[in-house]
Amino acid sequence: MSKTHTIRKGLNLPMVGAPSTQVEDFPLGTSFAVNPDEFVGVAPKLSVKEGDTVKAGQAIFFDKKDARIQITSPVSGTVRAIVRGAKRRLDQIQIEADATTSYHDFGKGLPKDAEAAKATLLASGAWTLLEMRPFARVANPDDAPKAIFVNGMSSAPFATEASIAIAGREEAFTAGLKVLNLLAPKTVLSLHAEESAPVLTQATGVEIHRFSGKHPAGNTSVHIAALSPLNKGEVIWAISAQDVAIIGDLFLKGHYCLDRILSVAGSGINAPHYFRLRGGMNLATFFAANGKKGAYRYISGSVLSGQSIGAEGYLQLNSQQLTVIPEGQGTDFMGWVLPGFGKFSNSRTFMSWLSPGKKYDLTTKLHGEERAFVVTGQYDQVFPFDIYPNQLLKAVWAKDLERMEALGIYELAPEDFALCEVICTSKQPLQHMVREALDLLHTEMN
């Protein structure tokens, strides 16, 4: 029987626009694109040129530093355009999809050993579903992780529920877990305390741990800290439950297919619910059909750590959800003095704290300007780690690598600072700072 870990610190953003559990298919369309930016730590080098034809699962670019790590096409079709930015930086690879996807065949059947599993995962591009800790970047195939953490309970606002995402894919999920078991001595599946889907609660070959509490109770870093804290030199790989099913299907069917069931939510969506979408697809028709008219922020991912993609953007290849919220507009007369009944704040400086259950139509407004760090003890309220966030962030700010290390930066990912960033009085870009620090540490160490 699994034990429930209660996470006492955190914050669930009280937002309107939660998704219903209904699942709908949406036509994928023929316009796809991949942004290499999405893959942290990958220095992209093209393996295709404009006009080439590709099958789903065939490489379109790979990592200069480790050619085994490839990013593959989500569809079969023709490379329509390669978009470069300043200094010929690779920004986007656009693909015109065939009417029906033809998949590259990786062969059916579960792998015999870790080597075989790795080979197929790398060749298919499924390897990029694994994120490593420390550094929160694409896993390094040469590492020997002490465990793989499967996240079955994201707690970000409107996060896709694992049980809905893998409903009907039970066999694939189970097969995926078997594959992961070959790669590390231990596989941990973390579930919400109230999770009842048998495919998750009765999963075999894994250690099941349950967590309850407000966000970030569902962040993998929190699970790692509670179960197997990461020491210097150790590595853990992390993956979402739905992506385990994708890996399972890769071995059962021989196809790498990035169809996912995603929560599509936020007050910018007419009727928020779940959709079956494919990573890389263009969302212009999707938003036109399901989104509201007006100035909205279209986010591939969660409001906390997702990427803004615009109304005509492309779904990120490995996004786990989609969120649409209103853009903030206009100034706020004397907003810093007035009582503020309708303003959301985790502090109690606005009168709105008198109505605790209230939900807000939160916009992208910054509510102020960037300032120096002044307030202390604020981050601690939403930061459930045995780590001093202010001190760590100051080390990050000063680029003091030894101190960051001593204060435990290896145990964290940028997303763990998302709530700190939300409630930050000084409006400091914390996730960006931590991302840069982790990249700097990684460069220094390799």
Binding site: N231, S305, S347, G377, N390
Partner: protein
């Protein structure tokens, strides 16, 4: 509101590209004060809390207002009382009068204005040099500084103390958020050591300017309660009057009741650290009780008397309450770790009471105790954080 926005829109070109470019920090400060700007989150989290530094600072100002208003009334009340113009039997009817308010405001409002002009002048100048917006920290410091001064402080001394505090206490360390000492207390300490005859003794706490036909009543002493204790070992003021605030003292420090009310507001809004406030209370009580225990063993009689007063007297006389609630809790100069705040707060109270009793030259021990603990706070944090680091290293070796 539209017409205010129009004024800003019309003048913007002059300060962004035109001749008045050096005034941009001032312009920006004024505009963002009128309107929270329409900036949106572009990196990281897409939604943000409504709180910003202005809101944080204005919350502290709200908390200070009751004590400030009381201080204004008290300025007039103490003056007219010294001149024997009050009918003591009327009690509170003699306190909240228009005369008292006008007299106090006539003295105190210029001090506040001078403090803000001097301090913000330096802040805006440095904002221009360092090309960053004006930080809001001085909104609170600018009100705290006059509230810690005696009512008769000459305005130019207030201005010089303020400029010293902002320059040496804050800007040389890198501005808001980087300072080691509490800027408001730095100003007070500067005034205290530079102009001692205006900051201590028994002549400065009550305004005794007489007009034709007026005289100061016989036997009047303008000494504060702590001043009396330090010289005679006893006080003529009752603890109840001190709790309510009907005693001479620095402008904002006298009414323990209203200061505590402000403290409750700071704790309720989460802006002031209750750990520091409670820590300081425990420290002051501990020192008070320790004195009670040690009093019989002291040599001089006045010390025996001062040390044997009930411990709670220390909480209502002098600036303990004001210092604990508004000065010690400055997040930048206090300890930054939650565990450190307990230690820091406790020592502020403990040392403050110790200095005030042991050193008759400094009846205001709280100021020195907080400045000392400001300097010590990084060390407290160092040990607290180091424990965490050691624990991580130990786990890593295990």
């Amino acid at each position: 509101m539209k017409f205010i926005q129009n004024i800003f829109d019309a003048t913007r070109p002059a300060v962004t590209t035109g001749k008045l470019k050096p005034l941009y920090p001032l312009y920006n400060a004024l505009e963002t004060m009128m309107f929270v700007p329409d900036h949106n989150a572009h990196s990281g989290a897409h939604v943000r809390d409504a709180i910003d530094l202005k809101r944080t600072m204005v919350t502290v100002i709200f908390a200070l207002v009751p004590a400030l208003l009381f201080g204004i009334f008290n300025g007039g009340y103490q003056h007219y009382k010294a001149l024997g113009l009050l009918n003591e039997a009327m009690g509170w009817g003699q306190f909240f009068t228009l005369d008292n308010f006008i007299f106090g405001a006539w003295k105190i409002v210029p001090m506040i204005a001078v403090t803000y002009m001097a301090g913000l002048g330096v802040e805006i100048y440095f904002a221009g040099i360092n090309k960053h917006p004006v930080n809001e920290g001085f909104l609170v410091s600018g009100l705290l500084i006059p509230m810690t001064m005696p009512i008769d402080m000459p305005l130019w001394m207030v201005a010089i103390s303020t400029i010293f505090a902002v320059l040496i206490g804050k800007e040389v360390f890198g501005g808001t958020g980087m300072n080691i000492l509490n800027p408001a207390l730095t100003a007070r300490a500067f005034a205290f050591f530079a102009y001692p005859s205006f900051m201590s003794g028994d002549k400065v706490w009550v305004n005794t300017t007489v007009e034709a036909g007026q005289t100061v009543v016989d036997g009047f002493s303008g000494a504060t309660a702590l001043g009396q204790y330090a010289t005679t070992g006893s006080t003529s003021f009752g603890a109840w009057d001190a709790f309510l605030g009907l005693i001479p003292g620095s402008i904002g420090e006298t009414s323990t009741l209203l200061i505590v009310l402000g403290g409750v507001y700071l704790i309720a809004t989460g802006i002031g650290s209750w750990k520091i406030m409670l820590g300081s209370t425990l420290g002051a009580v501990a020192m008070g009780l320790l004195f009670n225990w040690a009093a019989p063993h002291m040599i001089t009689e006045s010390q025996q008397q001062f040390m044997s007063i009930p411990f709670y007297y220390h909480l209502v006389f002098g600036s303990w309450a004001f210092a604990t609630i508004f000065m010690a809790t400055d997040p930048v100069s206090a300890a930054h770790t939650e565990r450190g705040k307990w230690i820091y707060g406790f020592l502020v109270g403990f040392l403050g009471i110790m200095i005030r009793v042991f050193n008759p030259a400094y009846p205001e021990g709280m100021m020195l105790a907080i400045l000392f603990m400001n300097v010590m706070a990084p060390m407290i944090d160092h040990y607290v954080v180091n424990a965490n680091i050691q624990q991580r290293l130990k786990r890593s070796k295990a």
